[in-house]
Amino acid sequence: MLTYLIRRGLQAAVVLLAISATAFALFYAAPSDPATIACGPKCDATQIAAVRHSMGLDQPILTQYGDYLRGLLAGRTISDVDGSAIACHAPCLGYSYTLHEPVLSAITSRFPVTLSLAGGALAVILVLGIGVGFVSALRRGSASDRVLSGFTLIGASVQIYFLGYALQYLLVYSTGWLPLPGYTPPGEDPAAWAAGLLLPCLVLGFVNAAVFARLSRAQLLEVMHEGYVRTARGKGLGVLRTHLKYTARGAAGPVVQLLGLEVGALLGGAFITETVFGLSGVGKLAVDAVTQNDLPTVVGTVLIAAFFVVVFVAVADLVVAWLDPRVRLA
């Protein structure tokens, strides 16, 4: 177990290293220059050169990347445009000259939004996705199965940006049934927090739930014909309890694995949902950073997103191993 964790950790570290290198190389190869952006609109060439120098952008890219990695592990001091020092503690993801704050703090301050959104969406996914999958697998071929399958088909096919706007138009704007989507810290006003996130979570959850509904339905149907399920019924166990105790357990593996990937992806920021509903989460931060060529933030958000994916994929593997004693970790 411990060796497994260590090995998995090392693997994850290498993957993240590769991702950071790729992101770094790709984004620093972009045509526009962070120094130009950091320096004001009236900067001339010599000034920009000075700014480049003080930001360390005139160093070879490998040196810059080395500094970046060092900052990530041990923290470093970054020089501002004017050459003054900004302390950036480990894990230092760099400093955003557009936001004028360390990338990590920019991410952490937006993280509650993303976390709330991810949590809500996850709840919807679990209830709607797996619940629907369960019901329609149990009633395979029935009218309710067809209705639910149609429902998930729509979910799998609809665009967040279409559904998001359409629902905003119907439920918020024309009727006022729901409050405007937005984020209020739950500590401030839990009701407003829930109300503001209701629609985004529902939409994000619904669209993603479809995949889970289909997967869990297919999985359940497959496992339903396993011998051990029949054995359980042969013992005199009822249908529902058999499926809850045996079928669901047998079907869980792939669902959990997909769930791990999904949680990781959600925590890395739901780019489109956050854009559509105007939630200032990590995803919106990332998209904005890309459009504003805020390279440190782009690399930082890419890394964070990848980090969550890697971590939760590993967690999912652990859960699968815990669910299925046949799976050996090592």
Partner: protein, 564 residues
């Protein structure tokens, strides 16, 4: 359990009948319309009686068993007739009624023990659940104690109760299933092929256990099997099924000795036993009375030039370096085996599962790299053939394989023609036409017809597929054929066909044959010499008669004794 005298059903008192099946018909709705898997089945089972349900694969045995449990999926199955379990008609009964019945009055040991035990729950949990379901007010401790008791009863140490099924061997799992079925002392037990896929020794243990428990609890048993020997040994009455219909029923002794129906006769004769004449043609369903061989097989010269030879062969698996530098313990599959196969000879390789038979065969075929020892074919060192494509290609001209699984060894996406001509493409520069003609010729040789060339494997039955596999092996006109359990996946009557074919071809073509099997009777029937493998080592080698009549080693004796 010795065969009893025929008891006339009419004489038996009503309350003594624990299972009464009348005119049972089961059909499935499939993609191609309904499939009737059982039709007009009727029988009675008295308390304490053992009924053997015999028939080849797909004849509807399991279907009848499941119908008795009321376990057919109602949405896709139509069941008609009546199945009365201690007075309750299972057909059309309410789920609640069935729940009370299942596991308590009627229980089933399902066909595949590994698949039938939940991999996610400990053995004790699964046993305990079976008990608790019908003893609602039993305390936790009581349930646990009962589960342990039942485990011990089937010979599994209580200490292993917290283990998961995958940590058990096949025989142990089978015993767990039996324990689970009997934990509530049911009136009827349906044991669906409880011993297939088990070694002879384990098979024996399981059957003995079943008989013991059956006697003890007075349970009536429906023993589903396709093994005639087993029926003879363990049942009072038998019922023969074919394609969903009852062919014949009656007291076991009577049916076995004087079968009414030719099918029954063929079924009984098809499996070689330790008493059949070696090398004789076996009866099959299509040819119940085969012509006997005109010329007896001449004993090949054992001392003659050796065709293939391995000495001190060792094969290890695994033991790869892990990331943290720990080496895992390698599996030592073959530990110093020495064998010799003379030109024209048939050598049998027997041993229980995992003893290294296949591994040895694969080394000889150039598919597996040995870890040590020498391998020679016709005097040439072929140890490197597994890694050296050119060498293997040369070798494969002379040595060909017939595989165990007729389903897995034929590529489902290639036509029979493509499959059979592959060796020709590799080894000859025949034109397409010529290859085709040769393939047609080969098919006829193995008893199929040439117009089946454009078909795909899934359109053939298991026996036919095995023939295709044999045709492929014959294509390059090899000198040695290695047959790795070529009949173990087949029904007895089909098995007989394939064995007959192999014997015919061997004689016609003067082939040498390395025949791998765990079935002693089959080996005895076919082989000139026999080598017994145990845990990767040769325990005993000798001529057929020496090994079967005068076994020297304890292990060999044990193996022979386990045969029913």
């Amino acid at each position: 359990m010795t065969p009893q005298q025929d008891t006339v059903p009419a004489v038996r008192e009503r309350q003594d009948t624990v299972l009464s099946v009348r005119d049972l018909t089961v059909s499935f709705t499939g993609a191609r319309g309904p499939v009737t898997a059982a039709e007009g089945i009727s029988f009675d089972l008295a308390r304490g009686e053992v009924l053997g349900l015999v028939g080849e694969s797909g004849s509807g045995k399991s279907t009848v068993g499941l119908a008795a449990m009321g376990l057919h999926d109602p949405s896709r199955t139509t069941v008609s007739g009546t199945v009365e379990v201690v007075g309750t008609d299972v057909v059309g009964a309410a789920e609640a009624e069935l729940k009370a019945l299942r596991g308590a009055r009627i229980a089933m040991v399902f066909q595949d023990a590994l698949a039938s035990l939940s991999p996610f729950h400990t053995v004790a949990d699964q046993l305990g659940e079976a008990y608790r379901l019908h003893h609602k007010d039993a305390s936790r401790d009581r349930v646990r104690a009962r589960a342990l008791e039942m485990l011990e009863r089937v010979g599994i140490a209580g200490a292993r109760a917290r283990d998961y099924p995958h940590q058990f061997s096949g025989g142990m799992r089978q015993r767990v299933m039996i324990a689970m079925a009997l934990i509530n002392h049911p009136d009827v037990l349906i044991a669906d092929e409880p011993t297939t896929a088990l070694d002879a020794r384990v098979q024996r243990q399981v059957l003995d256990l079943l008989a013991e428990l059956q006697r003890e609890f007075g349970t009536a048993v429906v023993l589903v099997t396709h093994d005639v020997d087993m029926v003879a040994a363990a049942t009072d009455r038998m019922l023969v099924m074919r394609e969903g219909h009852m062919v014949e029923t009656g007291p076991t002794h009577r049916v076995l000795t004087a079968p009414d129906h030719p099918y029954t006769r063929a079924l009984i004769g098809a499996a070689p036993s330790l008493k059949t004449v070696p090398g004789s043609r076996l009866p099959t369903v299509d040819v119940p009375e085969p012509k006997s061989r005109t010329t007896a097989r001449a004993r090949p010269d054992e001392a003659g030039p050796s065709l293939a030879e391995v000495s001190d062969l060792r094969v290890e698996f695994g033991g790869r370096r892990t990331l943290l530098g720990r080496r895992r313990e390698p599996t030592r599959a073959v530990r110093g085996v020495s064998l010799r196969l003379a030109e024209g000879e048939t050598l049998g390789l027997v041993g229980e599962s995992g003893s290294g038979k296949s591994t040895t065969a694969r080394v000889l075929a150039g598919l597996q790299r040995p870890s040590g020892g020498t391998v020679r074919f016709d005097g040439r060192d072929i140890a490197r053939a597994a890694d050296d494509t050119a060498l293997r290609r040369e070798l494969s001209r002379e040595v060909q394989l017939v595989f165990q699984d007729p389903y897995a060894s034929l590529n489902p996406r290639r036509t029979v023609e493509e499959i059979v001509t592959t060796p020709l493409r590799v080894h000859t520069d025949m034109s397409r036409r010529e290859r085709r003609d040769r393939a047609a010729e080969l098919l006829t040789q193995v008893g199929l017809s040439a117009d089946q060339l454009p078909r795909y494997p899934h359109e053939f039955s298991g026996g036919q597929r095995q023939r295709i596999g044999i045709a492929r092996a014959l294509a390059p006109r090899p000198r040695l054929i290695i047959a790795d359990e070529p009949v173990s996946a087949l029904d007895v009557s089909v098995q007989a066909q394939v064995l007959n074919l192999l014997m015919d071809l061997r004689d016609e073509l003067g082939l040498s044959l390395l025949f791998v099997s765990h079935d002693l009777a089959v080996v005895r029937h076919l082989c000139d010499r026999v080598a017994v493998l145990h845990h990767g080592e040769i325990v005993e080698t000798g001529t057929r008669d020496d090994v079967f009549e005068r076994p020297q080693e304890a292990y060999t004796k044990e193996l022979l004794a386990a045969r029913l």
